[in-house]
Each structure stands twice: as structure tokens, then as C-alpha cells.
Symmetry: C2
Subunit: 213 residues, 2 copies
């Protein structure tokens, strides 16, 4: 536990901030594998042990980066609210999801491609878990909108949200992990994303009344 002094001077504040900034930069450059306390310390200009006065350890530092990543992620999804119809907002949410993953691949990897136990943020701050749930709820809400409008055939909105999440996460992670590198280029991938969103919609829209779009 860190006890904060009653008068937080600007020097302490900026040190923490500086560590965070250098940590982020190192992480973006080198990924999780190349991310080390010693590396961060060198950039900041202090010894590695000094970092432990500001963060509880490597995991805590990564958790802070993760928090920033989730904030950015939320803003990407939020753009979908500009859509004019429930279905368009649902589709734009998917777009935003993929855009975030491609714009911030390191962050995405930290958020969704790292084993929660592997480098132990199993008991990561409750604030993060909540933020994670929150973003999922956003997707579920988009699904509910479509259900209420009668665009989607009746189904559990959480099942819909999870399915859509799985489809796009699967595609994005295959791409980011290099599994598709030898069989398609970026253009081909973008087309596959389009197709995936189309197929999700196709499987969810009701067939009896063609009031879509």
C-alpha cells in the first residue's frame, strides 16, 4: 500500500507520469516480451529498483498501461453512437472494435491476447474488471437496440454480443498473431472483416419481415 503525503508536490507527480510515459513507449516499441523494469528504468534515467517506490511491481505497471488502453478502447466503440439506425450502430461497433485492434495492436494484445494468469493480473484491480465488463455491456446494448427495433430475430442479447465479440476477436487475433500473414495481405483482411460483419448480420436478422435497412 502506498501512503500518499498530504501535500503532493509536482515532482512526485511528474515522476510517476514520466515512468508511465516511458513504460508505454517501451511497451509499444518492444511488446510484452521486450518490456522490462530495467528497460523502463534506463529510459527514465534511474535504477530499476527506484521504480518500485512508484509501482508495486511489473504487473502493477502493466495494469496502469492496461487502464489507459481500455480508456482508448472505449472511445473507439463510442464512435458507433453516431450511427443513424440500430443496425448501423451495431455494425459500427464492430468496425470500431477492429479499428482499435489495428491502430493499437500492442494494447489489444495486452487486453485480449494475454493469458490472465500468465503474467498474473488475475486479481487485477477491480476497476479494470469493471471497465472490461462495461465495454461488453456496450455491445449488448447495441444488440438490444436491434432486438427492440425488430431487426434481429428474438434471441438473448448477451449471446448475440458474445458471438459478435468472438467473431471479430477471432479474426483480429489470427491477424495480429501472424497466422494469416502468409495467406493474405491487409486488403484481403479488410475484406474478410467486412464479410464477417455481413455474416453476423445475416445470421441475426429476422427472415420473416424484411424491414432491415
Amino acid at each position: 500500500m502506498t501512503i500518499v503525503a498530504p501535500h503532493v508536490n509536482s515532482v512526485n507527480m511528474s515522476t510517476r507520469r514520466q515512468i508511465l510515459d516511458e513504460a508505454r513507449e517501451l511497451f509499444l516499441e518492444s511488446g510484452l516480451a521486450g518490456f522490462s523494469m530495467r528497460g523502463v528504468a534506463e529510459r527514465v534515467g534511474v535504477t530499476a529498483t527506484a521504480l518500485y517506490r512508484h509501482f508495486d511491481g511489473k504487473d502493477a505497471l502493466l495494469a496502469s498501461l492496461l487502464g489507459e488502453a481500455f480508456a482508448t478502447f472505449g472511445s473507439y466503440l463510442g464512435r458507433a453512437l453516431a450511427g443513424q439506425t440500430p443496425l448501423e450502430r451495431f455494425r459500427l461497433t464492430g468496425k470500431g472494435y477492429v479499428d482499435f485492434a489495428l491502430d493499437h495492436p500492442r494494447d489489444y494484445a495486452l487486453m485480449f491476447l494475454t493469458d490472465c494468469e500468465d503474467l498474473g493480473y488475475e486479481r487485477i484491480s477491480e476497476e479494470l474488471a469493471q471497465r472490461s465488463r462495461g465495454t461488453f455491456e456496450f455491445v449488448v446494448d447495441r444488440a438490444k437496440e436491434c432486438l427492440d427495433a425488430g431487426v434481429f430475430a428474438p434471441r438473448d442479447p448477451r449471446e448475440i454480443g458474445l458471438h459478435a465479440w468472438a467473431v471479430l476477436h477471432g479474426l483480429v487475433s489470427l491477424w495480429l498473431l501472424g497466422q494469416l500473414r502468409q495467406s493474405m495481405d491487409r486488403t484481403g483482411f479488410d475484406r474478410q472483416v467486412e464479410l464477417a460483419i455481413d455474416l453476423i448480420e445475416l445470421s441475426l436478422t429476422r427472415k420473416d419481415s424484411p424491414r432491415r435497412k
Copy 2:
């Protein structure tokens, strides 16, 4: 640079085999994070450096484990050929995929959840890349069967295969990485897998002639 060992005598074979077995066991117990040359060596009863007489390094050792994993994976997919109709074989392929992932989570993680660059099997043996392509071709063939039978609406079979792969990979990887642990149990996950396969089928089957099943 690389020492190729095409023909090895039986004495080497058994040592090599023993290393491989202990490596596999350690990997299954501890995962990639806990997998170390020193750990393997201790189990085998030799020093760590001795392993380098049999394998080019940690990556080469992991590549061998990966090869065995792909063999097992192939047998899981192959079961789908017992299906009576093209659509059933297509669906059974998906089942086999998920079954493999759940029965052999460590292997699955090594195959599909590890960055190809992270721990450098970027230029992994061509044999492995071919095996990987081969399993994908199996899925594509199942899609072709359905297309030829008129069960699926006309579409590029490779796009279908990739989509189905992405859906199940996404679902499985969210599960294996613990992303769903707090929101559903194993039963719920199994139901979601069923749903995912249903939705894939729904989005691919032709709507004009109901000659499915």
C-alpha cells in the same frame, strides 16, 4: 547455422525422445511461461547445455512439440469425415476443432495463441507451415462439399473456411485466456459453441431452396 538431423541413430533417438517426452510433460504442467531449458534438463537428468546437442535451442524444442500437437489436431478434425452429409461433416469439423482446444489447451495455445514473432518461430520449419496450411485446407474442403451440394449459398470456400475458423478460434481463445471466466461456466460455454456453429450455418445456407438436413 542450422544443423539438420535427417537420419539419427537409435541411441540418439531414445535420448532425443526422452528429452521430447520430458519437455512435453513440463510444458503441459507449466505452460509456455514455466517452460525452460533448465527445467527440461533437470527432468531428463542432464545439464541444460546437454540439450543443445539434440536441439538447436529452446525454439527448436518447442517446434518439435508443436509438430506433435499438429498431428493430434489433425486426428481431431479427421473424425468429422464420419459425418453422413456435407453439412454434418462441416459442423463436425467445428466440433472437432473446439474439442481439441478444450482437450489440449496448452497445445492449442502454442499453436494459435502465441505470437509467431514473440518467441521466434517466425522461420519455423517449413514442414510445420505446410501442416498448418493442410489443416486449413481440410476446412475449406468441407466448405466446398457444402457448396457443391447446394447447401451453402455461392461464396468463396476459402472465405467460408476462414470465417468459420475465426468464429471458433475467437470463442475458444476468449475461453482459454480466461476472458469469460467471470461471466459463464463450462456449460454456458458449450451452449455458446453450439450457438456459434448454428449461426455460422445460418449465415451460409442458401435461403431459396430449403434442401438442408
